[in-house]
Symmetry: C2
Subunit: 219 residues, 2 copies
Amino acid sequence: MTVEERIRSDIEARVHSGEWRPGDRIPFEHELVASYGCSRATVSKALTRLARAGLIERRRKAGSFVADPQVHSAVLEVPDLAAMIAARGEAYCWKLLDRRVDGAELLVTGVHHAAGRPFCLETRTIFLAAVPEAGEESFDTVSPGSWLLGHVPWTRARHGIRAVEADAGQAALLEMAAGKACLLIERRTWRMDAPVTLVEQLFPGDRYDLVAEFRPGAS
Amino acid sequence: MTVEERIRSDIEARVHSGEWRPGDRIPFEHELVASYGCSRATVSKALTRLARAGLIERRRKAGSFVADPQVHSAVLEVPDLAAMIAARGEAYCWKLLDRRVDGAELLVTGVHHAAGRPFCLETRTIFLAAVPEAGEESFDTVSPGSWLLGHVPWTRARHGIRAVEADAGQAALLEMAAGKACLLIERRTWRMDAPVTLVEQLFPGDRYDLVAEFRPGAS
DNA sequence: CTGAATATTATGTCTAGACATAATCCAGAG
DNA sequence: CTCTGGATTATGTCTAGACATAATATTCAG
């Protein structure tokens, strides 16, 4: 364990245990230098990282303080569906329903299947200005999500999550009763402010369970 | 702009623009030292931060490489409901329905209202072993979520998000028709491996829209 | 007393170098 | 040929110190 790690984990432990409470001042850098017998650069690196993780707040001249509890936020994992289903040991397959070009947009519709049952209805728009190569792809065996993952780096994404009721057409494609509750995930992706893709994924409520795990100060 | 920031943003720009593709080697540290005319510590700090953000991968002896596109993941903001509703300019109010102690667990049920309409049905368990002070709170004017935010630091949380249909009782409390689609968020929170609270929040599907924004390499 | 100039102090950024560590390459032994 | 042990090399961590910057505390003029 490096000196920097030791400093960090000592401070984390004191904050998490409640020994140092939000607003408390933690030792000055020069005090930590003295007690750990290391150089200031090492202490500073440890504090910088804790500050970036949101555990402490540093103020010039005043010192460093335990930060107020952070806003709730969590890291939401939205893995590649194919990989996710494979990880559960179920057979995965993608069935293309429709593919057409409308001006500079490529519209793809299809269903992801897990263990032989429909699992997710996907409606996707791909903006050809950002991804011209997509025009060459048929997407009849590979889902656009998997293809895009490997071909286009994105710099920003925005997710919306809602609960909706399946209409008759959607219900038929997902082999479920109309009016049943579904999780609707809408994701827009950009690459340097140029839209890359917009996707709506509709999951039967009882067949999908999104999970988000979070560890604050996950240094 | 500091030298470190300049190095970082130059590399980010080259990766995001596609000039350097996943797998490409980026210049060695000593080359960056030469081209920026700075010390190795500065270059190393920049690369360390890019590596932590997942943009590059560093390998001893081999150099640093542009990382493969990351798994989709997003930062999910789960703000305090009271603060969130207030931010939308709507009146917020919490109505306690039930509060009782069952052994070492405090069970609280209530409804969050926005603009006079029920907005979220909350069923919460608070583990008194981790939060003994909660036993003194009536929770008749302040929601347990807001109270806990200010009183208990937590170190880990796990969210589950599902779509469900409201049963008759839930529907009545939320002033909606039974069987309608709802978003169910379940959150468990721990503090140093001791459970703090478990909450289920049920939102009418058409009145809530969870949003997650993500910028990879958000250095 | 009030307000402005000055001194102090802790953090922010950086340098030039040291040694450690791990991965790779290459030469020589078998 | 293969395998092993060193030499090489890039990153990983650290030191001791420098100067910059921003916020506070203090002093002094009015």
